[in-house]
Amino acid sequence: MTSVILQQPTEAKAARKTNRGFIHGLITNKKAMTGMAIMLVFIVLALAAPVLFPDDPSRITGMASLEPDSEHWLGTTAKGQDVLALTIHGARSSLLVGLTVGFASTFIGILVGLASAYFGKFIDEALSLLTNVFLLLPGLPLLVILAAFLPPGLGTVILVLTVTGWAGSARVLRAQALSIRSKDFVAAAVVSGERAGRIMFREILPNMASIVMGTLLACVIYGIGAQAGLEFLGLGDVSTVSWGNNLFWAGNEGALLTGSWWVFIPSGLCIALVAFALALINYAVDEVTNPRLRKIRKPATTERGAAQ
């Protein structure tokens, strides 16, 4: 009994952090701050793109393959498009797709995970089977098929990535929801006469905040990366400006063969930076909610228990 008591307060604390301590923990976490700073820069640039570069970034001009100079800070592509404009405008679609995919697949994951865990029995079996089948389906061909089947456009890319992406998050969220489902407070809510929907969303969900956050971040990373991959293969919507498409065109125009590194580097680096930033935040969330993962200080004195 006592052992349980010992653990309980930390758990209660962790849950409380969903309200205040969690945010505070993130703010004081170096990783989280670095990640959020990078993200903020990208979001601001994406929002400001139409102001910074009011012209259509894919507008074809005569000045092909210029090296970076004072007029074109990142040079131009073989078609004479300004690379900086393409990169900054690209952030819009890449972030949009990433965030939408992230939110959509996390949302489906929450629905499936909660329903699975709350109702149990047949519904759980059925939903788990569905989840597992989607996990088993080879993702890329599904992406390719759906991308071919649906009319091109950001909507399709988002739909495709959501369809292939939700299952992973559903599995994670179900496991967590299941462990919360077995907690007494859920039974207590049932006994007090709460209805299913309310229990799922008001009682169980708030206690999954950190894992939902983690899943969301992972899904966003997946969304951005998968979109870039699809587009690089020419399976995305080629007519939008996005980082993946920038790289597709760069490859198409032989940017590496001609040594036009300035066409190839920026979009790739942006994807990496965004993914890195999100990963940092994700790890920070892990650390904040799981104090064991927190960075440990160097031992200060010799008298320390059981040093290895």
Partner: protein, 357 residues
Amino acid sequence: MSHAVHSPARPDVSSLTPALEVRGLGKSFHIGGLFSSQAVRALHRVDLTIGRGEIVALVGESGSGKSTLARCVARLEKPSEGAILVDGVEVLKRDRFQASREFRSQLQMVFQDPFGSLNPAHRIEHFLRRSLTIHGKGGTRQRGSEEQTRRRLEELMTTVGLQADMLDSYPHELSGGQRQRVAIARALAVEPNVILADEPTSMLDVSVRIGVLNLMRKLRDEQGISMLYITHDLASARYLADRTAVMFAGEIVEEGESLDLLANPAHPYTQLLVSAVPDPARAGSYDPIHRAQLRQAVMASASCAFENDPKQRCSSEEPVRHQVGDPLNRHWVRCHLYRPRAGAGGHALATEPEPGD
């Protein structure tokens, strides 16, 4: 200065419908998934009656099915067979698929773990207010009665001995005892007839346990609420409950007036249980030989204490009840010859379970 606890004059129980009656309740758990038909029998033909304003204790070893009984009655699990009567109404027939709000307002449950039964994400006020709102109590159904609701909330807090300003706290800011009081207040908010309390103090620090027990007694005395008090601590059962039932491997093996039952345990298992309670007052420590005998008696009783009593019938096939002592004590014990079917609970006694496959 010490005085015997005064039991309030109770109305003649037999003349009124009991607050809660359980008849022949059985529950098997199917274990394994879609492709398995294995079952564990957790409850078998359990009969239990709780009168109005009565506290009945349910004691028994770990895994004997006490919680399962409570959860079935609270309709958190679906019983495999039997009937549950609340206020004389068969609830399993009335609400076939789901417990109705009406049922919920008649019967409430307090859980073992005060740390787990309060959602850490909400303030104390939330729990009480929800209970009021769902059941339309405390003026929540009237318009503009926020004042009234507020008063009811404060009143509830006072009833369980908490300060009203704690309504704004989060559960983690409260001590275990305080939390358990909140859990009780939450049940009270519904104004139920029956409260099921599943080991409500086992997770609490020894020093605060007694306070919660006292609170439960006070509620019974003042509000006439019936209670099922589940524990495996015989001493506290004796302290709190009017009657005590002993559960063994999913069946009730002995039942009677608490003081009488503990003073004259009839079933070998009850005897074993009583002998195992640490008691500093006990002269001399425990005697292994005596224990071994007791255990033997529980595991394979070959004879029944009432075998030679012509007034009592013995059977090894069906559970027969033997009357023990004064009929006023309503103390009975199941025939020792009868053996619960294998596959039921009974972890602790079976110290050498079959090796897992």
